[in-house]
Symmetry: C2
Subunit: 334 residues, 2 copies
Amino acid sequence: MPELRKDPIIGRWVIISTERAKRPSDFKLEPEPTGNSNNCPFCEGHEMSTPPEILAYRNDHSGPNGPGWRIRVVPNKFPALRIEGSLERHGEGMFDNMTGVGAHEVMIETPKHFENLTQLPEQAVEELIWTYHDRLIDLKKDPRLRYVMIFKNKGLAAGASLEHTHSQLIALPVVPKRVSEELVGSREYYSFKERCIFCDIIRQELKDGLRVVLENPGFVAIEPYAPRAPFETWILPKVHNPRFENAQKQEYEQLAKILQQTLKKIEAALGNPPYNYMIHTTPFHHEESPYYHWHLEIMPKLTKFAGFEWGTGFYINPTPPEQAAEFLRETKID
Amino acid sequence: MPELRKDPIIGRWVIISTERAKRPSDFKLEPEPTGNSNNCPFCEGHEMSTPPEILAYRNDHSGPNGPGWRIRVVPNKFPALRIEGSLERHGEGMFDNMTGVGAHEVMIETPKHFENLTQLPEQAVEELIWTYHDRLIDLKKDPRLRYVMIFKNKGLAAGASLEHTHSQLIALPVVPKRVSEELVGSREYYSFKERCIFCDIIRQELKDGLRVVLENPGFVAIEPYAPRAPFETWILPKVHNPRFENAQKQEYEQLAKILQQTLKKIEAALGNPPYNYMIHTTPFHHEESPYYHWHLEIMPKLTKFAGFEWGTGFYINPTPPEQAAEFLRETKID
């Protein structure tokens, strides 16, 4: 019998469709183009093919915009938003419009073309997490900005237009709808229960164990109770913290570990699928709250979304999260 | 300069990305598999390959589940929800669960395999609209149901698993999130302005003309001010009406006309892209409202959604709707 399940944070219902239940081997992945590093603007030695770097983690004695870096942050060459100009709001009749002020940056995760996030040394993943942190801290100084979305697209089907492994950020002058919904939902829960809803989820998941993929002293990786898509996975810090950028050094070490291990499991279990991940954190200029809890969401791209999902904001998921968690738990990685 | 635009109904911001501006010819469509009618369960003569029909529009002297039909409605063989069983709600700790009671039906739009909705005679499209109406009216009698989502997926990339042209419906025991958001947003606007927000949009769009694609005495097809995706198109009845199923005969005639013409324009302008459309209407057992206005949304599938969209509920659209409307207006159809 199929089930309807409700996401406790934002109230979205999903269908867990047992009639269509799918195991990892049932998903057909679209073929990805074969690797080609010709003219890749992200490769070491091609630094002049990108706009000048904003930040780089470099080896000693190497200079900006030349070789010798480990991670490099550059503006997106085709930015969705621009950092120049003033933030102006105006109406067009009944409609609301704002100049597209913001930032759109690319974080190149390694100088080598044929190396994925899961193949990098743990230390490199930790540096990537610090890069996220450093860019957030820096962009926070710009009073026009309200939110920074940090995300990664891997694979063409997940929207990555360049193959060389990279993350991105988009800094926005507004708080995006999805994040507002989480803030509203978690505040409502808090006003009723006087507890953080994410902390409650973590407690229940660790007790049940059914949907836990991995844990370490600082973090837990779970399949959420009402996932939008098969193998949707969330990574949450165990200790309440509203802001990603306010974590401690050891927490970033543990985040790097659990993120890389979780991605390794997803790659091994599902045949290296395209995926997206993104960080949800408290907006700039927002109260430090006892109710919001930063986290990272991973969405493997295994199914196509169709009219029903578009029209309703309602998802049909053929893989119960308990099954997905079990598969991932049992998947061996080195 | 890129722009941020806000959807006035549900408050979603989108980026209209002028740096990445795209004309229709810039979109690369994924190749669709070539047509094959072998073993198609929807073709005339294969009626026994589907579950027994729920409704059919038939020629005289033809009997159920045999040839002689023009439109045929059957249960989905792999339903996301099931009509049998009682609606039971329970908690799993802090989570909410409901049995997956509902309906999932397929509306086969023509007996012929190699015929698309745009190639059918206008009369056939009108019969399809009546089929939507008849199924809604019938399902409304089931007190367990709250909403019926009528939608169409065309093309593999838009989620159509069978090529033979068809629509679908999913009847739900809950009101989906997206529809609730529209109800809440339009009610708020009404309480402030004492006018229907959709009626206001129609008035402004018809006056400006910038985003109008087509109109006839009963309906207007527009590119919305803050579209999630290139060539997103809405078809709205000009006269306020909260419910799709409460329209008059002449309105359905005009809907059939404008729907087919709009789809013809989209196909001609964009090279027969995959698309989804869906009807948004007032839920069952909901007050007849002065604020909600049924409509149909068409979403051509031209771009991939990536981490940013997932994470934020925030969209980057490379085609300003004014440009899209102009292209569609200028596209000639027979």
